[in-house]
């Protein structure tokens, strides 16, 4: 078992087979630097719990194809990314820091899927982004492809 410590001083025990999906921790273990608790100063316990949940579920991912558990994993992934934008941001930053490739892919794809067909206004509101482009800069991009900003498929709702 490997012990991880979040930045709010909570400790979690994780099976080595699960935690080595993190390239960062795998390297630490290989270099013999994981003998005691591994502190993770960038990750809070709420986010770490989510990440560990993912690691435990994906522990036997290589075998999933053989045992027909692929659908089960897919369903888990869909449920897993069903979270708010702030939480998704925290999980992405944690996956980036721990270098968990598959989790990064899953989260970035989820972010892209949520942005599809959304209006600019809706994206800014959902992600709490203040527009800092000048009107000219904005218009320049719109003029390149005015059709991308209109049409019935553009979704202006915030959810």
């Amino acid at each position: 078992m490997v012990k991880l410590k979040s930045n709010d001083d909570k400790e979690f025990e994780v099976e080595e087979a699960a935690v080595i999906q993190s390239e960062m921790i795998k390297n630490m273990i290989e270099d013999g630097c994981a003998t005691s608790v591994i502190p993770l100063p960038n990750i809070d316990s709420k986010t770490l719990i989510k990440v560990i949940e993912y690691l435990n579920k994906h522990i036997n991912m290589g075998k999933a194809a053989e045992t027909g558990e692929e659908d089960d994993l897919k369903e888990f992934d869909e449920q897993f990314v069903n979270m708010g934008w702030e939480e998704l941001f925290d999980v992405i930053m944690a996956a980036n820091y721990l270098n968990i490739h598959e989790l990064m892919e899953l989260c970035c794809q989820s972010a892209a899927d949520r942005l599809k067909n959304k209006s600019v206004r809706a994206v800014r509101e959902m992600l709490k982004i203040t527009n800092d482009l000048t009107e000219e800069e904005e218009q320049e991009i719109i003029n390149d492809a005015p059709w991308a900003f209109e049409g019935p498929e553009i979704d202006d709702t915030v959810n």
């Binding site: 934008w85 702030e86 941001f89 992405i92 980036n96 490739h101 990064m104 892919e105 970035c108 794809q109 972010a111 892209a112 899927d113 942005l115 599809k116 067909n117 959304k118 209006s119 600019v120 994206v123 800014r124 992600l127 709490k128 982004i129 203040t130 527009n131 800092d132 482009l133 800069e137 904005e138 991009i141 719109i142 390149d144 492809a145 005015p146 059709w147 991308a148 900003f149 049409g151 019935p152 498929e153």
Partner: protein, 126 residues
């Protein structure tokens, strides 16, 4: 969390933003670039499951289908296996046919006039 308003504009690293932007196709990418300065500058990256090669910097081709009667355009992205439909059609393209394509431009023929149109930015020279 403090400063939660700037999570997705200032605190998100550019390479992660680029990884998200790279999964968008055609029109979605234009919308992405108008959101704010950081998003406009996000670097586009090749999908990470492919080995990085020198020519990855080149723009990959889309397969474009134009529906003659409606002017609806479909783009098929062979890398992500995604079809993006531009619906409703571009009215100018109704009744047009694609005759040839080169260097990101299409030579179009319609009963009204000849139109050269750039596939990516939909600029046209009539």
């Amino acid at each position: 969390m403090e400063d939660s308003d700037k999570l997705w504009s200032d605190r998100i690293p550019p390479d992660i933003l680029g990884s998200i932007a790279s999964r968008l196709v055609v029109g979605e990418y234009f919308v992405f670039r108008v959101v704010c300065k950081q998003w406009r500058l996000a670097p586009l990256m090749p999908p990470s499951h492919r080995p990085r090669r020198l020519h990855d910097d080149l723009q990959l081709p889309y397969l474009m289908t134009l529906h003659e009667k409606t002017g609806i355009v479909e783009f098929f992205d062979p890398v992500y296996n995604v079809v993006t439909t531009h619906n409703p059609g571009i009215s100018k393209l109704k009744g047009s046919r694609i005759r040839s394509s080169k260097a990101g431009w299409l030579l179009m023929e319609s009963w009204q006039s000849r139109v050269d149109i750039s596939t990516f930015s939909a600029k046209s020279i009539i």
